[in-house]
Symmetry: D2
Subunit: 149 residues, 4 copies
Amino acid sequence: MQPETSEQLVRRLSASFNKQTAMSLIKATMPLIGRGCTEIHLPRWEGIQQQHGFIHGGVVGMIADSAGGYAAMTMTPENASVLTVEYKLNMLAPADGDTLIARGSVIKSGRTLIITKAEVFSVRGEKRTLCALMQQTIMVMHDRGEKSN
Amino acid sequence: MQPETSEQLVRRLSASFNKQTAMSLIKATMPLIGRGCTEIHLPRWEGIQQQHGFIHGGVVGMIADSAGGYAAMTMTPENASVLTVEYKLNMLAPADGDTLIARGSVIKSGRTLIITKAEVFSVRGEKRTLCALMQQTIMVMHDRGEKSN
Amino acid sequence: MQPETSEQLVRRLSASFNKQTAMSLIKATMPLIGRGCTEIHLPRWEGIQQQHGFIHGGVVGMIADSAGGYAAMTMTPENASVLTVEYKLNMLAPADGDTLIARGSVIKSGRTLIITKAEVFSVRGEKRTLCALMQQTIMVMHDRGEKSN
Amino acid sequence: MQPETSEQLVRRLSASFNKQTAMSLIKATMPLIGRGCTEIHLPRWEGIQQQHGFIHGGVVGMIADSAGGYAAMTMTPENASVLTVEYKLNMLAPADGDTLIARGSVIKSGRTLIITKAEVFSVRGEKRTLCALMQQTIMVMHDRGEKSN
């Protein structure tokens, strides 16, 4: 069997991401996909705020969870899918930038479980602040690939 | 000083919740507010799905985090506000019900830190399934109440 | 195949526990084993203290982790073993009692993963204080039972 | 006020560590103390094993928790002490080396809360394997320094 090319990897993950209506609802995109890592970007806009006008912590968690999950998915066979078993997220600073970048990366990749982390940066101009840090456990479901429509 | 009445408590928390545009974006409501506990309800609808058509895990995390945070806020003085320090969420079953109910409750309430949990139930007809469980640390910011607009 | 009796369950778990030299080092015992739950007891003694004279937080974590892991093991077939994938522990109060009791219980039992919690109580006379709360993910290794010596 | 010298820092932390009888019970030492990081070393020996003969996961957690806590303590004033609020630990590989090294480091240091991580390496000869990863929240208790005996 041919190993998956980078182009095929990007196509496989993007197809999955694009089916997540929750990601388009909050206006998140996934512009970076590499073996073992992903980035999800999110502009600050009025629909995703908490009571102080910053980006809602739950939304920060949403993109962290997804960035970690997709980083795990870069390690699995094409006919597998992934499930979040659990994650733990520390909020380090208010998400008050113009953009958030959640960078997911794989820490350890096993056949059944994949351990990942995600760092979420709040970006304003040249300045990047680490605003959240997540540690996550992902389960691989073999032979249960995501169906194309 | 008069202790806060139940009605004042509901008014204080609802005012905060209603300023969270992220909660109205996903169509979440907070119909239950009591001393030490809250419930956030969320109907299943097409805008908050993941790639398999279930409610997105990140959205489950969002309402769990908020239910725990507001449960903590029921314990604080009126002129204080709360911040999520961290939370840990286990996903136990797919969120495939017609409604999700996130029930937040206070485990231990200190002056500076409040420890909470949230249980998220997936509800379909008569059937309720525990689909996520969260343990959370909240920090109290004294003398920094949420301003009314 | 005959289902395992309560007596066989107790014998299987006790045999495993007794092989853990780390548990006897700290003087922990496991006097309660039932389907889905266990208790590990620990007397306060001078060898397991931290710098303030209370029981060391790491020792609290040790018995919480073990109580959860053995609660999971009550749900598995006899020819399986269990591994801690991860746990998250909140310390709620100093462990200043005369005895600690870590009560592990199963929250959700799947074929591959078992989710548990543990509550650790600090006991002094009649008084019990919840001093730690843990949420844990356990992996079942099928057909890899623990060998008897 | 004079800033604390490296020598004073080492003396302050070592004095605290040496009062933890639980650390000497398991034969752990803290040979490395720097501003923002520490290392706790632990030889493998028969008294700290689990049922398969590896170092007990609870003992791994113990040194991870302590390494993170002492890393936090390097950032606090001399008249302050630290408390573990919570930690989350993923076990990545069996602790089957001849020595374990838990390296604690500070991720974010605030006045009241300090967020740390710890990596635990299993060392055998030249080979180092990351066997556990922890994310932790520490609380600073100001004006409550540890008393000397």
